[in-house]
């Protein structure tokens, strides 16, 4: 297992990742979301011994915290991972795997870069420059959680508060767009 936190706050991540024995990486620039077309977390990718992607972006959950929102049962998903590890579950067909993850649009790419600039300006103390770029990122990728929800704590908000519920309502109304499969 390799866990990548799409996050800039190392200490917060450390609090989440206490006692884990696998590598936990910090991706402050959201590079992984660019390389794998990831638009929400948790997203899991099953990678085979030869580096081929056996199962692409998958909205998998280790716990049932968000079951109310997602309808995803974590035990079923963990069983699937175990089956794959044991070699009891064949990889997805290439046709299905290609169909599963839509590429990022040019706007979604640009949103990631504006987010990166915003995060940099925020740390450099340029609050208005950060706001300008956060706003642009949100306009370009309105239903991308790695943009919209990730910016909430950076702008002083509560990612589990009212703003999250509003975002969820917008996301739901837009048909819950996701670059990947919501549960296998």
């Amino acid at each position: 297992m390799i866990a990548v936190a799409i996050d800039e706050d190392v200490e917060k991540v450390r609090g989440f990742a206490d006692n884990v024995t696998f590598p936990v990486l910090i991706d402050a620039d959201h590079l992984l979301t660019e390389l794998y077309a990831i638009s929400n977390v948790p997203t899991v990718v099953m990678i085979d011994v030869d580096d081929t992607i056996a199962y692409p972006n998958w909205s998998a959950f280790g716990t049932d915290t968000f079951k109310e929102f997602t309808g995803i049962d974590s035990d079923t998903q963990k069983d699937r991972v175990r089956s794959w590890v044991r070699g009891e579950m064949a990889p997805m067909t290439e046709v299905d795997a290609r169909a599963a993850v839509g590429d990022l649009s040019a706007d979604e790419e640009a949103a990631r870069l504006h987010f990166r600039i915003a995060a940099h300006l925020r740390l450099a103390g340029d609050a208005s420059g950060a706001e300008r770029n956060f706003n642009r990122a949100a306009e370009l990728a309105p239903h991308d959680w790695t943009i919209r929800r990730a910016m909430i704590p950076l702008r002083g908000g509560d990612p589990f508060g009212e703003e999250f519920l509003e975002l969820y309502a917008e996301f739901d109304a837009a048909g819950r767009p996701y670059h990947g499969v919501t549960g296998y």
């Binding site: 077309a37 997203t43 990678i47 993850v101 590429d103 990730a150």
Partner: protein
């Protein structure tokens, strides 16, 4: 590439071909990132093994 004219900052993204490798060729693109142990870890540090790559967050 994105330009923020007011601050004079230019952000350059990863080449699209690297993502195409994932979404079209179904080959996992390699990456190197800092880890919680104070070093860096690459996906390729664990090559020749099955890997479960998990993107998560604290938000």
């Amino acid at each position: 590439m994105v330009v923020d004219a007011e601050s004079g900052i230019v952000a350059i993204g990863a080449p699209r071909q690297r993502r195409r490798k994932a979404v079209h060729d179904l080959i996992a693109p390699d990456f190197v990132l800092p880890d919680l142990r104070g070093g860096v870890t690459a996906l390729s540090d664990h090559r020749h093994k099955k890997r479960l790559l998990i993107a998560f967050s604290t938000w």
